[in-house]
Amino acid sequence: MKWVGLIAVLFTGGLLLSAMDDFPNWGDAHSPANASPVSQYFIEKTIEDSGVPNMVTAVLADYRSYDTMFETVVVLIAGIAIMAILRVGNQIPRGARPAPVSAPASVNDDHQDIIIGTTCRLLIPVLQLFAFYVIAHGHHSPGGGFQGGVVLGTSFILAAIAKGLDPALERLPETRYVKIAFVGVVIYSAFGVACLLLGENFLDYGVLSVLLPTIDAAEARSHSMLGVEVGVAFTVSAIMFAIYANLASKGELEGGL
């Protein structure tokens, strides 16, 4: 197996490198990829089309927002898949989860350090605030729904690591994060469907200006992008936490690390 693998890998590597002399130079501004009309368009017209200075956000949430919608769906699938795989025999609870009688008698208790506890208590709100900033300010600075969503999810994960999974799950129980995850995709696609209903193509946000008479098409795009980013953040944050919660507890959602 090792030899087969090695040969396959070397062959692939040779193949990949064989085209190297045909490559444009690294950093060449006039390489086909960089000088293509598509890329030029993004750089030149983003502001005009939607007034969003962060081109990445604009391309992500507007020009190629169809991709991004499915990307969100991929995240959703990952969460659902992990629940489907790991929660074997574990009933997915309907309604409220019974509150744990006492703090779980797991190893976590030993690590329930005051320093960690305090740090987390300080850190988590800041993290969450930062997450909202990242989501909201994605138009102007690096960031957006994905990054913000992950940071938001991380804040819950941090809580789960520091205090144990159960307290974290009390705040964000399974039914809730599953719902949030679904709602995120619903929000995203609802923007697209709204455009559809107003007679334009799917995700053609410009037409949404009809709904708010004070804004024009460009602004409508800008605001819609924010809207879909919020949807992305919903799904991503919930699923990131879901992934962690399931993986950390072997799908039992109790105890944790």
Partner: protein, 81 residues
């Protein structure tokens, strides 16, 4: 981007990748993988791909490493290779 800096990171990248695959302790491997992610995120930031870097920092160095560690915790730390 200072290209010397770029090269140093690239070399370190290869080193961390090899280490994370060769170390027999899976927990250590996961940690080194986190380092790898962080290095590659630095590299991207240097290349001007700030959004990608940000995402990699949160997802690669953050979530990926955490869920790897969570799995290692729930299974076994030692590995034959």
């Amino acid at each position: 981007m200072i290209w010397q800096f770029d090269i140093i990171i690239l070399i370190f990248l290869v080193i961390t990748a090899v280490i994370s695959l060769r170390v027999k302790d899976l927990l250590a491997a996961s940690m080194v993988f986190g380092t790898y992610s962080f290095l590659i995120c630095l590299l991207w930031a240097g290349m001007g791909a700030v959004d990608v870097a940000f995402t990699e920092a949160t997802v690669g160095a953050g979530i990926s490493a955490v869920i790897l560690i969570a799995t290692v915790y729930n299974t076994r730390r030692d590995s034959s290779d």
